[in-house]
Symmetry: C2
């Protein structure tokens, strides 16, 4: 059983109830049988990180893995002269860490206040070995992330700055839709989990270019900027028509797009 501890960025508590866990039905533990679930409960440790904190740093030993339960975080990798690229976006339910590897490969940074449900890597690996339900779920999640990473490689390799920004909006709308298990209407409102500089790092652009494209898209009526971190998308289909790959952004909805107009 875990001793309660505290460090610079986070706190540990055992007062956490899995039955009201916000990611209970899509995290790595979501397909466990009751017995496996008890094992996880016994070894879990809830921690929180404040916005901007490093959850892990590339190169340091990987001591724990776990699920992101609240907030959002991102994976980042840097070139030696400081150029940076975000290489992944972590939303509630996503798994953090890599069983079978002893060293962290990417910086993981809290984009907002973040809450994690962590396990020491050895403890987790023991459950992983023993439980086909857990390893199957983790495989499924990893395969999904691999597909998403490859889809994003197309954006980074070939899309224009306008296409990149509209693709990011489409991605965020979908994330919301999936996690809120809400259907998307013709219009949508998204909360940006990042500052402009983070968006630039995500898209492989500079902050100035990102800012200009925000203005352009607003000028063209494709988005409405409502305060620094909120944007309204009056017509989702018009937006994805600007991504250069509307087919896959429509398709990725898994058939949940609601085409009815007259929402706005």
């Amino acid at each position: 059983m875990q001793v309660t501890s505290r460090d610079a960025t986070g706190t540990t508590t055992d007062k956490f109830n899995c039955s009201v866990c916000p990611v209970r039905d899509h995290a790595v533990c979501s397909r466990c049988n009751p017995e496996e679930f008890e094992q996880f409960k016994a070894i879990r440790r809830i921690r929180s990180f404040s916005k901007g904190a490093h959850i892990m740093r590339a190169g340091e030993p990987m001591t724990s893995v776990g699920s992101l339960t609240r907030g959002s975080a991102y994976l980042r990798r840097s070139l030696e002269d400081g150029r940076r690229q975000m290489v992944g976006l972590l939303m509630p339910g996503d798994f953090i860490g890599r069983p079978g590897r002893r060293e962290v490969a990417f910086d993981i940074i809290a984009g907002t206040e973040v809450q994690l449900c962590q396990f020491r890597i050895g403890d987790f690996e023991r459950i992983l070995q023993a439980s086909p339900a857990v390893s199957r779920r983790l495989l499924e999640m990893t395969l999904d992330e691999l597909d998403a990473a490859r889809l994003w490689m197309l954006v980074l390799g070939r899309a224009t700055s306008r296409e990149r920004l509209t693709s990011l909006f489409a991605l965020l709308v979908q994330h919301d839709a999936r996690h809120m298990s809400r259907k998307i209407g013709i219009s949508a409102k998204i909360e940006l989990p990042f500052a402009r500089s983070d968006i630039a790092e995500f898209l492989g652009l500079t902050i100035e270019t990102v800012s200009r494209r925000f203005s352009d898209l607003q000028g063209d009526g494709l988005i409405r900027i409502e305060g620094r971190r909120k944007i309204l998308i009056p017509d989702y289909l018009a937006l994805i028509a600007e991504t250069g790959d509307s087919e896959s952004w429509r398709h990725e909805f898994h058939g949940e797009v609601c085409l009815s107009s007259a929402v706005e």
Copy 2:
């Protein structure tokens, strides 16, 4: 048991001996017990594809999965106006296809003559359900591919054309090293599995830019172009110093870099 069949691009044969399979010790089946191994043997189907052939096409139903046993292939994804990006490189031992998904997400194209060891997706999924060894191995392979994809996202998002090309060379040297289980000396010779236009698609550049950077690197003595598809790298460390991320290309060797000079 599989009936022998033939189609436009490939042939099926049952004359294939797993005990001399070139990827026996790192493919998805490499950790099976003898019983599981027999199951694979019973359902496998060997097929070959000629250079340039589509092994699978994005959007079509995924009917089979399998291992690449000989040759190399790549994953590609296109924007609607035809811009293309390679999003993965498949070498012998790599797994093709995605259990749990019914539709192919990427075009898969044979870069050379290719030989595959395929299974019908349903057959494979049955073994995957039953065998922890197979699902653990597939998880491990998928996690490795995810890391590789994310590393490449940094190249596509932030690297200059010169850095992209040197990174590709570093990647190919490492692939060789890993598959030949041969240590890398200070100098290396690589066989390019692609034409210039494929390299351009891989790097997110145009063919003209790729050609110019080849010439520049040769002019600077970092490579020697020996025929269309062979290049000699006289000094690997000098080459990776040009990638903008020499640390990770050195590191990725898993400590196998041989620093002894006087090889050339």
